[in-house]
Symmetry: C2
Subunit: 225 residues, 2 copies
Amino acid sequence: MRMAELSRVTGVPVATIKYYLREGLLPRGELTTSPNQARYGEEHVRRLTLVRSLVEVGGLSIAAVRAVLGAIDDPAVPLHDTLGLTIDAADAPAPAVDDPLHAAAAERLDAIVAERGWRLSPDPLARRAAIDVLATMQRVTGDRLAGLATVYAEAAERIAEADLDTVTAVEDPETRVETALVGTVLGERLLAALRRLAQEHVSAQRFPPPSRETPCPPPPDPSRP
Amino acid sequence: MRMAELSRVTGVPVATIKYYLREGLLPRGELTTSPNQARYGEEHVRRLTLVRSLVEVGGLSIAAVRAVLGAIDDPAVPLHDTLGLTIDAADAPAPAVDDPLHAAAAERLDAIVAERGWRLSPDPLARRAAIDVLATMQRVTGDRLAGLATVYAEAAERIAEADLDTVTAVEDPETRVETALVGTVLGERLLAALRRLAQEHVSAQRFPPPSRETPCPPPPDPSRP
DNA sequence: GCTATCCGATAGTTTTGCTGTCCACTCTTC
DNA sequence: GAAGAGTGGACAGCAAAACTATCGGATAGC
């Protein structure tokens, strides 16, 4: 197919497709006969759909998408690393702050990791991110939110096991890497949205809003004496 | 204190503080004696720290921060709504797409909600977000990731209960709202980071990397005959 | 009175993610 | 083989977001 059809099938404007080509998010089409007549195939449709999903729904930047695509296209990068790479690429490197709050937060995180028996590579980026969050929570709210991390860690482990179950069930290696990527990026969004829904439910359960939970009793009949 | 000191205490550049004042994220200082000599107090330090945390660590946009601050400053908005408002403000309204994938995704989400017995307000924004993610997962990976949502929903409920426990334990109403806000926004980041760490752990457990998990046996001694 | 500082307004800058224009070329259709 | 629509690539332009820099008048504190 030609570019116009690729645009029609995926719903992405031609100008945007050209931009993605420039940025290396999408491989060039095959130049069949001449240097300005390229053909695109099913794999371009797949890749373009993937890119759009990561950008629009997943909220990744163009640079982050380029990084993860480079990794999944490289057969030398094992699945184990690919799965990890994703969020690393999404997060900013965040220059390591060096205040006492961070040290305390690091200690707390490492205690949780040790308690759960997690075996991790030395200093993954996600560890930094978690420490940053813990330190910030401490700075803003004191230790009111301190108890949450252990609950979150347990939930995270359960979720990660489901993630890995799902990914390892995929046979084809190429598809598996893509599934891991989408599951990691979009799964984060899904989890956030479900948490919000669950918060609303639990909140409504504990503080029953009078109008919604129990219908109002009928108003007194003014026609009755 | 004056602006320079506020800047020093919080580590936020003066120009940025002025920008936040303009944008209404920070209340004006008290004009004590003249129209160009303002004084700032502890509440400005608190508010500025909060804004920075939401923007830098939480990843909220300035507009989203303004929206949530407006809500927590309004004593008429109950806690129940404040907690909910947060992510709604963070997410883009996302023009409602109307394809069969979305319809199917909506059905699946509603089934999960019904199964868990969640009682929700009609069509909260988080529901739209979740449906978008489900539809996108379907489009990109088929139904390979379909099983994840129920696991996520259960984890989300557990997490939401911990969230509500934490928030309701706070006595002072003003502090409670702030705690809810920080817990919701930063908690999402914390959860994402912990999920990544857990993924790495589970992945390493299932596919033991030879060099890290079990130390290499000592190399054969070349000095021995 | 003198100097350093301050406040507020306005304009400028950088980054990101597209979008629009141009042009030479090519494919189809007559 | 000519016309006219379509194509690919280069490049410039644009809008939003989040700051950042400068300026002018006023004030504080000695």
